[in-house]
C-alpha cells in the first residue's frame, strides 16, 4: 500500500497529562465500578451486610450449603447464556430436565412397586418390578448420564432445526417444546416419580469428594453435622462444564461466530459464518446442559422426576441477565453468568435465614432484585455521564 500518501495518516490526537490525585481516586472508583466482577462484589457486599444481622449466615455449614446450591443452577444457566448470546432464548430447558430425569430413572431404577407404576405406558417394557433397563448393571450410571445428556441435545436439535430451517421465532418454538415435553414426561410415568436410584448415581448429587472438619481436635468421634462438603461431584461437573464453555466462547472459532451471529446475523452470513449450523448446535448445547443439570438434580432428589425444573425458568434467565448477558444477543460471558447465579443463590439463602414470615419473603426478594438492578444501572449512569450505553 505504499501508493497511499503518508500525508493522509492522522495527526496525533489527545493531549494526555498526568491527572491530579482526586482524579486518580475517581479513576480508581471508576475501575471498581467498571469491573466485570461488579455483580460479584455487589453480592458479597450484600451478603456481608445481611450477615451483620444474621450471624448464622457466616456459619461454615451454611457457606458450604451455598456452595453446593450454586452448581446445578450454574450448569443450566451456562446453556441459557449460550442461547442468549446468539440472540435466541430457550424456555424449554425445564421440560428437558424433566424428560432427562425420567430417562435416567428408566435406566437406573433398581426396583419399582407395581402398584405405583403399573399404569405407566412404559410398564412391562422398560419398567418392571426389577426396576429400569440397566438396573444393577455396573455401567448403568455412565450410560444413564450419557443418555440423559444425549436426549437433552436431541431436544435442543429439534428446537434448533425448527428455528433455523423454518425461521420460527425461538420464543414460540421453545415455549411449545416446554409445554409438550413436560406434559410428555408426566405422561410417561403417569405423574409418578421413578424411585430407588442406585447410590452410585446419587453420589453425583449428594456425595462429596473433599470434606472438611472444623471442630476442635479433642472430640472423640466427629459428629456428622460438622463434616462439611467442600468439593462435591456436582461442583466438579459444573466447573468442568464452565471451563469448557468459557473455552468455547473465548478461544474457538465457534465462539467467535456465535457472538457475530448475535450481533448482526446478516453480516455474519455474508462473512461466510455457517449461521444455521452454529445456531442449531447452540440449542443442542443448551439442551445438553439441561440434561447435565437433570443428572445433578435427579441425583440430589433421588428419583426420576417428571416435574423436575418446573418452576426454574425465571431463576435461570434472571440469574443470566443479572449477570450482564444481553437478551438481545452479542453480549455475554460464562463468568458473568456465574456471578449472576451466585447472586441468586445468596439471595435465596439469605431469605431462608432471615426468619421472615412466609408472607413477607416474596416482597423482600423482589425488592432486593430491584435494588441490585438499580445499583447496576446507576453505576453505568455514572460511568457514561448521564447517558445509558
Amino acid at each position: 500500500m505504499t501508493s497511499v500518501p503518508q500525508r493522509l495518516s492522522s495527526a496525533p490526537r489527545s493531549t494526555a497529562s498526568t491527572p491530579p490525585l482526586p482524579r486518580r481516586l475517581w479513576n480508581a472508583l471508576r475501575g471498581l465500578l467498571l469491573s466485570e466482577y461488579f455483580i460479584l462484589y455487589l453480592s458479597i457486599a450484600y451478603f456481608l451486610l445481611i450477615s451483620l444481622f444474621f450471624p448464622t449466615l457466616l456459619e461454615p455449614s451454611n457457606l458450604s450449603n451455598q456452595l453446593t446450591n450454586i452448581w446445578p443452577l450454574l450448569t443450566i444457566a451456562i446453556g441459557q447464556t449460550f442461547v442468549l448470546i446468539i440472540a435466541g432464548i430457550d424456555l424449554s430447558q425445564g421440560s428437558v430436565m424433566a424428560i432427562c430425569s425420567v430417562v435416567g430413572g428408566v435406566i437406573l431404577s433398581t426396583s419399582l412397586s407395581k402398584s405405583v407404576m403399573s399404569n405407566s405406558p412404559l410398564w412391562g417394557t422398560l419398567l418392571t418390578e426389577k426396576g429400569g433397563i440397566l438396573s444393577g448393571d455396573p455401567n448403568a450410571v455412565l450410560v444413564a448420564v450419557l443418555l440423559m445428556v444425549a436426549v437433552g441435545a436431541l431436544i435442543g436439535f429439534i428446537n434448533g432445526t425448527a428455528i433455523t430451517r423454518f425461521n420460527m421465532p425461538p420464543f414460540m418454538v421453545t415455549l411449545v417444546s416446554l409445554l409438550f415435553f413436560s406434559a410428555f414426561a408426566i405422561y410417561l410415568t403417569q405423574s409418578r416419580n421413578i424411585a430407588n436410584l442406585p447410590d452410585s448415581f446419587l453420589r453425583l448429587g449428594q456425595g462429596d469428594i473433599v470434606s472438611v472438619y472444623l471442630g476442635e481436635k479433642a472430640t472423640p468421634q466427629i459428629k456428622r453435622t460438622e463434616l462439611l462438603s467442600l468439593v462435591t461431584y456436582s461442583a466438579v461437573i459444573a466447573v468442568a462444564l464452565g471451563v469448557v464453555a468459557h473455552f468455547i466462547l473465548s478461544r474457538t472459532v465457534f465462539g467467535r461466530q456465535m457472538y457475530a451471529i448475535g450481533t448482526n446475523r446478516r453480516a455474519a452470513e455474508i462473512s461466510g459464518v455457517p449461521t444455521r449450523r452454529v445456531i442449531t448446535l447452540v440449542y443442542m448445547f443448551s439442551g445438553a446442559c439441561a440434561g447435565l443439570a437433570a443428572v445433578i438434580y435427579s441425583a440430589r432428589l433421588g428419583a426420576g422426576r417428571p416435574t423436575l425444573g418446573d418452576n426454574l425458568l425465571l431463576d435461570i434467565i434472571g440469574a443470566t441477565v443479572i449477570g450482564g448477558t444481553s437478551l438481545f444477543g452479542g453480549k455475554g460471558k460464562v463468568l458473568w453468568t456465574l456471578f449472576g447465579v451466585v447472586f441468586f443463590t445468596l439471595l435465596l439463602n439469605t431469605l431462608n435465614q432471615m426468619r421472615l414470615s412466609a408472607f413477607q419473603i416474596d416482597a423482600v426478594k423482589g425488592s432486593v432484585i430491584l435494588l441490585a438492578a438499580l445499583i447496576d444501572v446507576t453505576r453505568n449512569r455514572f460511568l457514561t455521564g448521564g447517558r445509558v450505553a
Partner: protein, 515 residues
C-alpha cells in the same frame, strides 16, 4: 447581511479530544451555506450540537436573534430547525405519510372526532411528495422504497416542518445522478422560498454549483468561511485535507491480463436479471454502472451466492458452477464488499479486530477443535489494519461504530483481505466517504489490481468509474446494455446507455407498489 443562526466559539470534546474547537460561525439567512470537510473533521458533531443531540462544553448559540439552547432534538425541531441526516432515519414498519408526520400528526378537530386526520395527512403528504417529485402513494410502507427514494422522503419530512433552517448532511450520497439533479432543484426552490440551508457534502461540484457561501472544517476547527466565488475545487480540497491534491484518482500502475477469473454465461433469474454475460480478468478493474434498481446489486448478490439464479453458469478458475453459496464463493476466493456497511458489512458494536477477523477465523484456527490461533490472527489483523491505514484507537477495543465512514469501509475491505481473495466485488465502496478516504479506497483498489486480483466495481458515480476502471459495463432493467473500454469512455454515452430504456423504465414505481 443578517445571520439566522450564529455560533459563538462553540467547543465540544469527547474524553479530552476536541471534536469541535472554538467554532464561531454565522449562517446567513435565506442562503445556502455549503459546509465541507473530511469525515472526522467535526461537521457531524457541530450539526449534532445545533440539533440538540449533544450539548456544547463551551460557547453559545443564537437563533433568529434570540439565545438558542436546545436540550433535546425536539427543541431544535420546535425552534424550526430540520435535519436530513447522513444515515437515513426512517421507520421501515411505517408508511411514508406516517414517517413524514411522525413528530406532529394532523389531528381531527372537534369532540367525537379524535385521533389522526388521515385525509388531511394524505393530502399534505401528496403535496410534499409532489414537491420532491416522488411518485409514490403516501400509504405505501417505507420498507418497499429504494435508498434514493427514502432520501426524498427524508426531505419531504423536513419540508413538512416547514423549517426556517434545514441542514442537509450528505443527502446525495445514496442518490442517482437523476435524483441528485432533482434534489438540487428542490434546494434552490427552498432558497427562493426564503428558507436557510446548510448543505454538507463530499461532492464538491454540487457544493460549488449550489452554495452561496462555503465553510470548511478541519480537525474540529473552522478554517475558512467565504462567498463561493473565492473557492474552486482544488482549493476546497487542499483546505480540507491540508495539502493540495492535484488529481482525484491515483494513477493505475498496472495493466490487466487476459486470464479470466470470473465468467458469467447467460445468468438469468426471472424478474431480476436476464442473460448476463460478463468476464473479469486477473488484474482488471471492471466497472458496473447502472441506475438505482438497474439490477447491479442483485447481480452481485447472485454471483456471491446470496441469491439463486434459474439458468446460466458461473465459471470461476475453470470450474463451472450451476449454483453457488456464500461459503463456496469464499472458498473460490471471492470477496463481497456490500452496498450498506451498517446492515450487511459490519458488526457495529463489536471491536474492529473482531470484524476484520470474522471471515478468516477458520483459516487461523488450529486443526481439531478449531481453536483460534490468537497471536497469529492478531498479527494478521494488525497488518491488514496498518496496510489500509485504518485510523482508530486500539483495534482490539474500539467498536466499529465509533469509526468514520471511510475507516468503516476500510475495515470491511481488511476483513476480506484476510481471506486472500482473488476477485473483489465492491458495491458502492465509496458511498458516504470523504475525499481523502475515497482517494485511499481508490489506491487500495489499484494496488489490489496491481497484485493481480480482479475487481468488479459497482457504482452510480460515473466519474469514479471512468477514473478507476479498465472497462465499464452498463446495466439497465437487469440486462447488460452496453460496454465501454477505457479508450472510448464517454460520460454522456455511458449515461445515455443507462437511460436508454427511460421511457419504459419503471424501476422506481415498481419498487414503490405495495403488495
Amino acid at each position: 447581511m443578517t445571520a439566522l443562526l450564529t455560533l459563538q466559539s462553540i467547543s465540544k470534546a469527547f474524553f479530552g479530544v476536541y471534536a469541535v474547537r472554538d467554532v464561531t460561525l454565522n449562517v446567513p439567512a435565506g442562503r445556502i451555506l455549503g459546509l465541507i470537510g473530511q469525515n472526522g473533521a467535526g461537521k457531524s458533531t457541530l450539526m449534532n450540537l445545533i440539533g440538540g443531540v449533544l450539548a456544547p462544553d463551551a460557547g453559545s448559540m443564537t437563533f433568529d436573534g434570540k439565545p438558542y439552547v436546545p436540550r433535546t432534538p425536539s427543541d431544535a425541531v420546535s425552534a424550526g430547525i430540520a435535519f436530513i441526516h447522513q444515515e437515513l432515519n426512517l421507520f421501515t414498519n411505517l408508511s411514508i405519510a406516517e414517517n413524514i408526520f411522525l413528530g406532529a400528526f394532523p389531528q381531527r378537530r372537534g369532540f367525537p372526532f379524535v385521533g389522526i386526520d388521515r385525509a388531511a395527512m394524505r393530502r399534505q403528504s401528496e403535496a410534499l411528495l409532489e414537491a420532491v417529485d416522488l411518485k409514490v402513494k403516501p400509504e405505501s410502507p417505507v420498507e418497499q422504497l429504494a435508498p434514493g427514494e427514502r432520501q426524498l422522503v427524508e426531505i419531504a419530512k423536513a419540508l413538512q416542518l416547514d423549517a426556517r433552517l434545514i441542514i442537509f448532511d450528505e443527502p446525495t450520497t445514496s442518490l442517482t445522478t437523476r435524483e441528485t439533479r432533482k434534489l438540487v432543484e428542490i434546494m434552490q426552490r427552498l432558497r427562493e422560498r426564503g428558507t436557510t440551508l446548510i448543505y454538507i457534502s463530499h461532492i464538491l461540484n454540487d457544493v460549488l454549483s449550489l452554495a452561496d457561501e462555503i465553510a470548511v472544517m478541519r480537525d474540529g476547527e473552522l478554517i475558512a468561511h467565504a462567498p463561493r466565488v473565492e473557492f474552486d475545487a482544488s482549493r476546497m480540497i487542499s483546505l480540507m485535507v491540508g495539502y493540495s491534491l492535484d488529481q482525484l484518482f491515483p494513477p493505475r500502475t498496472s495493466t490487466p491480463t487476459q486470464t479470466p477469473l470470473l465468467t458469467l454465461k447467460g445468468i438469468s433469474q426471472p424478474g431480476i436479471v436476464k442473460d448476463i454475460g460478463l468476464t473479469v480478468n486477473a488484474g482488471e478493474v471492471v466497472g458496473l454502472f447502472g441506475l438505482m434498481g438497474s439490477g447491479r446489486t442483485e447481480l452481485a448478490r447472485i454471483i456471491f451466492g446470496l441469491d439463486s439464479f434459474a439458468s446460466g453458469e458461473i465459471v470461476i478458475g475453470g470450474e463451472v458452477l450451476r449454483h453457488t453459496s456464500v461459503r463456496e464463493s469464499i472458498r473460490n476466493r471471492i470477496a463481497f464488499v456490500t452496498e450498506n456497511r451498517r446492515e450487511e458489512g459490519l458488526l457495529m458494536t463489536s471491536a474492529i479486530a473482531e470484524n476484520i477477523g470474522l471471515v478468516s477465523l477458520p483459516r487461523y484456527a488450529l486443526p481439531g477443535v478449531q481453536v483460534v490461533d490468537q497471536p497469529r490472527l492478531e498479527r494478521a489483523v494488525g497488518q491488514a489494519a496498518n496496510q489500509l491505514q485504518i485510523k482508530s484507537g486500539n483495534i482490539e477495543r474500539q467498536a466499529a461504530k465509533a469509526l468514520s465512514g471511510g475507516n468503516q469501509q476500510k475495515v470491511v475491505i481488511a476483513k476480506w483481505l484476510l481471506s486472500e481473495p482473488s476477485l473483489f466485488i465492491m458495491d458502492e465502496p465509496t458511498r458516504g466517504i470523504d475525499v481523502g478516504a475515497k482517494y485511499e479506497i481508490y489506491s487500495i483498489i489499484n494496488t489490489l489490481a496491481a497484485e493481480g486480483n480482479g475487481v468488479l466495481f459497482i457504482s452510480s458515480e460515473i466519474e469514479e468509474l471512468m477514473g478507476m476502471c479498465d472497462r465499464i459495463v452498463v446495466m439497465s432493467q437487469g440486462e447488460i446494455y452496453g460496454e465501454f473500454t477505457r479508450a472510448d469512455f464517454d460520460k454522456e454515452a455511458i449515461l445515455r446507455t443507462a437511460f436508454r430504456e427511460q421511457a419504459t423504465q419503471k424501476a422506481g414505481d415498481h419498487a414503490a407498489d405495495p403488495a
